[in-house]
Amino acid sequence: MFLGRIPYRRRRLRDAARLLPLFGLFFLLLPLLWSPPGNEGRRFSGDLVYLFGLWVGMIVLAAAIAPGLSRRDGEPDEDED
């Protein structure tokens, strides 16, 4: 089925919203793979900055996506899974 440009965008926005937490989880688990602490190049404050930076990034992305999602539309809410 061919959709108009705007409904099409909205569907892709939903896909983005669904994917966002998965990306977030991936990046949250990433530090587990880094070299153990005490090693050269990994400092506690570095971890702190990384995690908070990631956090802010997730919030900003979510804030960017949310307004487009919450708009009500006439078509059925749930698309194909």
Binding site: R14, A17, R18, L20, P21, L22, G24, L25, L28, L29, P31, L32, P36, P37, R43, F44, S45, D47, L48, L51, F52, W55, V56, M58, I59, V60, L61, A62, A63, A66, P67, L69, S70, P76, D77, E78
Partner: protein, 895 residues
């Protein structure tokens, strides 16, 4: 810092909260909430996730385990930015099915099973009571910190009395503002706003302490970073199991905790608010945790070794001489504790009253007798439950004596409520989930949690003997509570979480696969899983042979008179009925009503009550047919048919009513002429007879006088009749001249009652009024309106046949209109006559017929219509009752 000042500040703060809640409640009652139900307030109310355990405890957590405290916030962050997956569906289901608690959700999904409701309620109580105790402990500890630092060393209260006072105060607040209304749709605006205020206070407090630490003590960001890297906190290493497991656990807890479910779903006012909260709530969490590490590092650096890191937020400003900042931090911690306890108590009390107290009460009733005021029972049950929940929290605190076990209870509670996850998520995404599966999963998961985590948490030899912990029951090694199935060396929390959720999910899945759901269960399953697919609602039982009046009486007992009447009236209008406020009891209406009731008493109870009234305790063929129809390709088709059929039914109802009315009108037209003739001829007869007698002359003077007076009386009667007729025709033609002005309703009613006393002056009537509500000014035609009141009150005096006659006058403002109910306690007007009384000469047949010309109510109706309002007979009030609805300000019609 004097201790008394602290107590004073604390009390002032509490009074402030009461004021906020009170003001908001009174605004809500007047329907002027405005920004108070904005996404901002919704987001802030979600912050009860951050309890005192996170306010004080996060710093301690960071001091002990480095960055691990962040997992507690990362879980919810992922759940919220991923709101499109789960939260959106939960909120939609919650709103559509008027879910009152997480127990209600699970119970409703699995065929409105009350057994499930009871299980979830008990689990929630067991898992979260210690958590409430933890909050009380934190308040007591923070008081203790101040007492230690008090210059005079005075500590007027011991730990226990403090906890009692806090618990009692919270109980009072919660009962006052949490049990005001019943319908969950009306929601607790006062409490939610107070919680939002507390959210701001705690965030502000924590940030203030953080700024003081970073810029006041450490000399800026880079200085802080150096201190962090130099501190002992860097000794912590990320443990992959705990890091991943805790993120998962916190993410689960944020939707499964009863209080979170309550603010997230039950108190949700608008689904759009969730979109805003999806990023704003993570932002709040981020800000709350931003300064945790700096405070922890600085505390370890500056405070003497051995000080409790859980209290760094308070002790750090105190030792640095920042009394005011410490006070602010104290209020922040106090806010965190109180807001959590308040909402938790409401959430638990709703579950306990809806799933345990009410069903028991209903069972003890004789069948079919829902005659008492169920509202009062529900509200009282809820009040008592709040008291009990808080008493249990205090009891737990008292018994555990503030032990170290309590400090770890936060995560243990998380793991306990996480057991709801399979039943909840499975329930809303998987049609195949069944009641048996849900029960099996919940019980297995809860048992494993209790065995592997909760009971051992009290320490060796407290509940479990040390031997059992070390070697397993009866020496069976693979049943050791903290090393099930030989999983040795795991972190106890992760171990318990892993096994309990795995076994819970397995039992849920297997139980669901091998059993077959009942029809109601399948209906509810379809309605929950496909909540976004159009308006197909689950069909409730019932329909057909129900007396709508019986439903109205029951609904009034539960929702309150006003809400129930509005609901029925709207339904009647939607069915195309213009004359009556009683709708036909179609299955759609009965199912709607059931959902409304479930907002007050829970799905299972509402279902039982409706089945009770409709006399259908079991599933009918009709319901089975509906189940059969639910297959996917039939759904849309049947939805269309349904729409057309409803449309047809509406039209048919309207036509039938019109036809009935026309038939009645043509009969009435004949009757009208004959009535006019009668009403004119009767006085004429007396006049003619006596004037002839007078004309004959030679009468005694007394007889002359008497004849003259009779002629005069009868002429007056004739004039009055002609006036009434003329009045009516002017009113009906709409050419009436209204004299508009501001008038006090109370004065009008005073005047009317006085004027109506001429009717049956010998009978004493008790008149019940609400003078306060009547004291309002209307812009209307005061004389005309008074005429209506006189008429209605006179009628009540004339026809009320009760031995102790009573007239009730109730006034209520609603959406810019004023509603005046005038009712007596007589035998009322028979059902078949109710449609006729407003017609001209529409007097009652037989004994109720009386002397008036029968134009009174017809004139009333025309006057009220000219005043821009409506008047209707109000059935089911235990007497004759009339309802007038008028605009507050009647604007003069443009000429």
């Amino acid at each position: 810092m004097p201790f008394n000042l602290l107590v004073l500040a604390c009390i002032t703060y509490v009074i402030l909260l009461f004021l906020v809640a009170f003001l908001v409640e009174s605004r809500a009652r007047r329907g002027r909430l405005g920004w108070l139900r904005s996404p901002l307030v919704y987001t802030l109310s979600l912050s009860i996730y951050c309890t005192a355990w996170t306010f004080y405890g996060a710093v301690g957590y960071a001091a002990r385990s480095g960055l691990e405290y962040l997992t507690i916030y990362f879980g919810p962050t992922l759940v919220f930015i991923g709101w499109w997956w789960v939260l959106r569906k939960l909120v939609r289901i919650g709103r559509q099915h008027r879910v009152t608690s997480i127990a209600d959700l699970i119970s409703a999904r699995f065929g409105k099973s009350n057994l499930l409701g009871v299980i979830v309620t008990l689990m929630a109580v067991v898992a979260t009571t210690p958590y409430i105790a933890l909050q009380l402990q934190s308040v007591v500890l923070s008081f203790g910190v101040f007492a230690e630092h008090a210059p005079d060393g005075s500590a007027p209260l011991g730990a226990d009395p403090t906890a009692i006072w806090v618990a009692a105060g919270l109980a009072l607040f919660t009962i006052l503002f949490g049990t005001r209304n019943l319908d969950a749709k009306e929601q607790h605006h006062g409490i939610v706003t107070a919680i939002a205020v507390e959210a701001v206070v705690k965030l502000f407090a924590l940030i203030a302490v953080g700024i003081f630490v970073v810029w006041g003590l450490a000399g800026g960001v880079s200085g802080m970073m150096q201190r962090i890297d130099a501190s002992a906190i860097t000794g912590w290493a990320m443990n992959p199991g705990r890091w991943t497991g805790l993120i998962l656990l916190a993410g689960v807890a944020v939707i499964c905790l009863p209080r979170m479910f309550h603010v997230l779903v039950v108190e949700n006012y608008d689904e759009g608010h969730l979109a805003r909260a999806s990023w704003a709530f993570p932002a709040y969490l981020m800000l709350m945790s931003l300064f945790i590490v700096p405070i922890a590092v600085m505390g370890m650096e500056r405070l003497p070794a051995g000080s409790n890191p859980d209290m760094f937020v308070l002790t750090l400003p105190l030792t640095e001489g920042q009394g005011a900042l410490a006070m602010l931090a104290f209020l922040g911690g106090f806010s965190s504790a109180t807001s959590m306890v308040i909402v938790e108590a409401i959430a638990l009390a709703t579950m306990v009253s809806n799933h345990i107290v009410l069903p028991v009460w209903l069972r003890l009733r004789p069948a079919g007798a829902i005659s008492e005021d169920v509202r009062a029972v529900v509200l009282n049950a809820r009040r008592v439950s709040i008291g009990v929940v808080l008493a249990m929290g205090y009891g737990y605190y008292h018994v555990s004596g503030g032990s170290a076990a309590l400090a770890s209870i936060g995560l243990i509670a998380f793991a306990g409520v996480a057991q709801f996850l399979p039943a909840m998520i499975g329930g809303i995404f998987w049609r195949g989930a069944t009641r048996v599966g849900a029960i099996a999963g919940l019980i297995v998961g809860f048992a494993v949690w209790a065995y592997a985590l909760f009971l051992p948490s009290f320490g060796p030899d407290a509940v479990f003997p040390a031997g059992l912990l070390a070697d397993g029951p009866a020496g069976i090694g693979w049943l050791r509570p903290q090393a099930l199935f030989g999983s040795d060396g795991m972190d106890p929390l992760i171990h318990a979480l892993f096994w309990s959720l795995f076994l819970n999910g397995t039992a849920f899945f297997l139980g669901s696969v091998v059993t077959f759901p009942g029809p109601v269960e399948r209906l509810q399953g379809a309605a929950f899983v496909n909540v976004f697919e159009g308006p197909l609602r689950p069909r409730g039982l019932g329909g057909g042979h129900v007396e709508p009046e019986a439903l109205l009486v029951m609904a009034q007992h539960i929702l309150g008179d006003e809400a129930a009447q509005t609901l029925f009236e709207e339904a009647a209008r939607a069915q195309g009925k213009r004359q009556s406020i009683l709708p036909d009891p179609t299955p759609a209406f009965v199912s709607d009503l059931e959902q409304r009731l479930s907002g007050s008493v829970g799905a299972a109870t509402a279902h039982a009550m409706i089945a009770n009234v409709t006399g259908q305790g079991t599933v009918t063929v009709d319901d089975l047919m509906t189940v059969a129809r639910e297959s996917a390709q039939l759904m849309e088709y049947s939805a269309q048919l349904e729409n057309q059929r409803e449309e047809l039914a509406r039209t048919a109802t309207a036509l039938r009513e019109a036809n009935d009315k026309l038939t009645q009108l043509s009969v009435q037209k004949d009757a009208f002429l004959s009535q006019i003739s009668h009403e004119l001829r009767t006085p004429m007869t007396s006049i003619r007879a006596f004037s002839e007698i007078l004309a004959e002359g030679d009468l005694p003077p007394a007889m002359v006088a008497r004849s003259g007076r009779i002629i005069q009386d009868e002429s007056r009667r004739l004039t009055r009749l002609l006036d009434d007729l003329l009045d009516l025709s002017v009113l009906e033609s709409g050419k009436v001249q209204l004299t508009l002005g501001l008038a006090n309703l109370r004065e009008m009613i005073d005047r009317s009652i006085q004027a109506a006393e001429q009717v049956k002056p010998e009978t004493r009537f008790v008149i019940l009024r609400d003078l306060a509500a009547e004291s309002l000014f209307l812009r209307t035609d005061a004389d005309r309106l008074t005429q209506v009141f006189i008429n209605l009150i006179s009628n009540a005096r004339k026809y009320c046949d009760a031995p102790q006659p009573e007239i009730r006058i109730a006034v209520k403002m609603k959406a810019g209109r004023v509603r005046i109910d005038i009712a007596d306690n007589g035998s009322g007007i028979p059902k078949d006559a109710q449609g006729l009384i407003f017609e001209k000469f529409g007097r009652l047949p037989g004994e109720m017929r009386a002397k008036g010309a029968g134009l009174g109510l017809a004139i009333c109706r025309e006057i009220v219509a000219n005043l821009g309002g409506t008047i209707a007979y109000l059935p089911g009030q235990g007497g004759a009752a009339f309802r007038i609805v008028l605009p507050l300000r009647l604007e003069a019609k443009a000429a």
